[in-house]
Symmetry: C2
Subunit: 342 residues, 2 copies
DNA sequence: CACACTCCCTAAACCGTTTCAGTCCAGTCA
DNA sequence: TGACTGGACTGAAACGGTTTAGGGAGTGTG
C-alpha cells in the first residue's frame, strides 16, 4: 500500500518555499541561503523524496542513462567473459555519477543503428557506447547524423569522426608473434574471431605483416565465430597435417577457443607445450584453470570499461572528438608456451 | 546537426488533427476513423516521429523499462556464463514488448533494496527482476512494502509473498547424488556456491538428506565463492586424504569450479573419471571443451530468463502472486563420471 | 534621500505526452 | 420536426520537474 506519490510540491510546502527553490537546492545551483538549503534537504529527507528522473529529463536537463547495445548471437554471449567484465567496469564509473546502463541485445548493427536513433530522439539515453565495429559500420553515420554523444570502442580507422577508445591490436599481435618466434617457432597459426569485425581485420593484417617481417616458414590464419566449437574445429584442422608441416604454435583470439584448442591437442595425442604451443587472448580466470595453464595476451577489461565510460562523459559534456588508446595487452607467459621440440 | 526536435504537435499539425488524436492513434485506442488514423501515421512517418517515452511515462502511462540488479563481485561476474545467458533470455521477450532492460551492478542486497525503492518512486522501471536470494532477504520486504511488481528468482520459501520463478534444486541435487550412487560411489563430496545464497542452503540440505537416505559411507560439503580459485582449493583439500578415505566423486555448484577441479585432479596425478568422478552444474559450453568432457546437471538458462520476463509482465499487468517452477535440471552424462575404480 | 547593486526567493512558462470532459455533427426514431 | 444517440474529434488539465524574468528587502554610495 503506497501513499500517494510525494512530489517536489510537497517538499516545497513542508520547507515553506517554492518548487523552484527545491529544484535549485537539489541541483546545487547558487541563489539560495545555506539555511534554506538545509531546511529543504531536511524536508526532503523526512518525506523520503528524490527528484523524478523522468520529469527531470522531460524538463530538458541531462539524461542520466547511457545505452549499450551488444550484437552477438545469444549463445556466444554467455560464454564471453569479456562483456560482463566490461559492463562491470562501465558501471563502476556510472555509479559515481548516479547514472544507469540501458542494455540491449540486438541482432544486427543495422538494427542497432535504428535503436540508436530512437533512443536519441526519444531522449531515452544521454549517450551511448558502441562496440564491435564492422568495416563500413552503419552506426558511424547514424551517430554522426544525429549528433549523438557516443564513444566508439574500436580503432579510429573504423569509427569515422566519432570519439574512440581502443587497444592497439596490431602491436599486440606483433608482440605475440615475436614472442613465439623468439622461442624458436617458425610455423605459427592464428585462430581469429569473427571476420566481419574490424579488429579481426586489424589483427589479421598485423599477423601477416609480422610473419613476413620475421620470415616465418609457415603462417596460417582462419576466422571463426569465437565459439569453443569453432576453436576446436579450427585447431583440429590445423593439427592434422603431418609433423614437419604442422604449426608448432597457435594464437587464439579469445580464451574460450584456446581452452578448446588445448582439449583438441590432448585428444590428438599432442602434448602442450612440447608439441604445440598455445597462446590465448583476453586473459580471464579461465586461463589459470587448465592443465597446462594458458599463456595469454592479457588486458584489464574492467579498467577498459571504466575508461570508456569516463570518455563518454567527456563527450556528453561537450568535449570534442578524440582518440584514446588504452594500454596494449601484455604477454603473460604460463604453461602453454615453450620452445618447439627440435 | 539536428533540426529542432519534432513533437506530437508537429505531427498533429501536419495531419490536421489535435494532439489528442495523434495520441489515440499511436496507442491503438478507439475513437478515430480509419482514414484519420492513416493520415496520422503517414504524417508521423514523414516527420520521422516516435512518441517520447519520457513524456509518456511522466503522463502516467506504463513504464517500458524493467530493472535487473546483480549483486556479485565484479571479478566473478565476468566468468559466470549464467548471467549473460540469463539476460539474453530476458531480452528475447522484452524485445517483443519493446521494453528495455535497466542493468545495475550492486554491492549488497541492502543497496539493491534501496535502489529498488528509488527506481520505483522515480518511475524509472515498471517492474524488476530479483535474483540471488539470501535467507531473510531485505528485498522481499522492500518490494512488498512498495507494492512494486517484481519477479523473484528463487524458491518460494525465500521470497515471501512475491511471485517467484524457480528451479527445483533439491530434486536436482538428489538426482545427482542418486546417479553417482548408482554408479557405485559411496563417498561423495559437494563443492557448493556462496553460503549466503538461499539456493545454496537448499542444495546443502538436499545433499545431506540424500546422503542419509542412501546411507553413503562418506559425504562432504564445503561452500565457496563460485570462483575457479575456490573450486581448485576445495578440490585440493578434498583429494589430499589417503585413498580409502578420499571421496570418489565430487559435485560442483557451477562449471567454472568443476573445470578447476579437473585441473587439480590432473595436478595431483589422479585420473578422471577412474580415480575420481566430477559432476558440474549450470552446463555451459565450457563443459564440452575439457578433457575429459564434464558431465553436468544442465538446464536451459536462456529459456529460464525468458520465463522470468514473461512472468514479470504477468505481474505488471495485475496478475496475482504465484509460484512458477521451471523444469528441473537434467543430468547430462559425459566423460567425467564413471563407476569408481574398485 | 534617491539610486544602484546584491542577494534570496517566487511565479509562471515550459518540456511532450495522456486523459477526459466536452463539442459537433450525422443519423435514427417517434 | 424535435429529441435522442453514438462516433469522431478537440481543448485543456494533468504529470513532476527545470528555468528564467523579475520582485522585494537589505546594503553601500554620492
Amino acid at each position: 500500500m503506497t501513499t500517494s506519490r510525494v512530489t517536489i510540491k510537497d517538499v516545497a510546502a513542508r520547507a515553506g518555499v517554492s518548487k523552484g527553490a527545491v529544484s535549485l537546492a537539489f541541483n546545487h545551483k547558487p541563489g539560495l541561503s545555506e539555511a534554506t538549503r538545509d531546511r529543504i534537504f531536511e524536508a526532503a529527507r523526512e518525506l523520503g523524496w528524490a527528484p523524478s528522473t523522468t520529469a527531470r529529463t522531460l524538463a530538458g536537463s541531462r539524461v542520466d542513462v547511457v545505452g549499450l547495445a551488444i550484437c552477438r548471437p545469444a549463445r556466444l554471449l554467455g560464454l564471453e567473459p569479456f562483456y560482463m567484465e566490461f559492463v562491470s567496469g562501465v558501471e563502476s564509473v556510472l555509479i559515481e555519477r548516479s547514472c544507469s546502463l540501458l542494455l540491449r541485445l540486438v541482432r544486427s548493427v543495422e538494427e542497432e543503428a535504428g535503436l540508436l536513433e530512437s533512443w536519441w530522439r526519444g531522449r531515452q539515453v544521454g549517450g551511448s557506447i558502441l562496440v564491435d565495429f564492422r568495416l563500413d559500420d552503419p552506426r558511424v553515420a547514424a551517430a554522426e547524423r544525429l549528433g549523438m554523444p557516443v564513444v566508439a570502442v574500436g580503432h579510429p580507422s573504423l569509427t569515422g569522426s566519432l570519439t574512440s577508445v581502443w587497444t592497439d591490436d596490431a602491436t599486440a599481435v606483433t608482440e605475440a608473434v615475436r614472442y613465439l618466434a623468439a622461442l624458436g617457432h617458425r610455423r605459427i597459426a592464428r585462430v581469429g574471431g569473427a571476420a566481419a569485425l574490424g579488429h579481426t581485420a586489424t589483427r589479421t593484417a598485423a599477423f601477416d605483416e609480422a610473419a613476413r617481417a620475421l620470415e616465418l616458414a609457415g603462417a596460417w590464419q582462419v576466422t571463426t565465430d569465437y565459439s569453443g566449437e569453432s576453436g576446436a574445429r579450427a585447431t583440429r584442422s590445423l593439427l592434422t597435417a603431418a609433423a614437419p608441416d604442422r604449426p608448432t604454435a597457435i594464437v587464439y583470439d579469445n580464451d574460450i577457443m584456446a581452452v578448446a584448442g588445448l582439449s583438441v591437442a590432448a585428444e590428438m595425442g599432442l602434448s602442450v607445450p612440447a608439441d604445440v604451443s598455445l597462446l590465448a587472448w583476453d586473459d580471464s580466470q579461465l586461463c589459470r584453470l587448465t592443465r597446462p595453464t594458458l599463456s595469454a595476451m592479457s588486458h584489464d577489461v574492467h579498467g577498459f570499461g571504466a575508461d570508456v565510460a569516463r570518455t563518454l562523459f567527456g563527450v556528453i559534456t561537450g568535449k570534442g572528438p578524440g582518440s584514446h588508446p588504452v594500454p596494449t595487452p601484455v604477454l603473460t607467459p604460463r604453461g602453454s608456451t615453450a620452445p618447439p621440440r627440435v
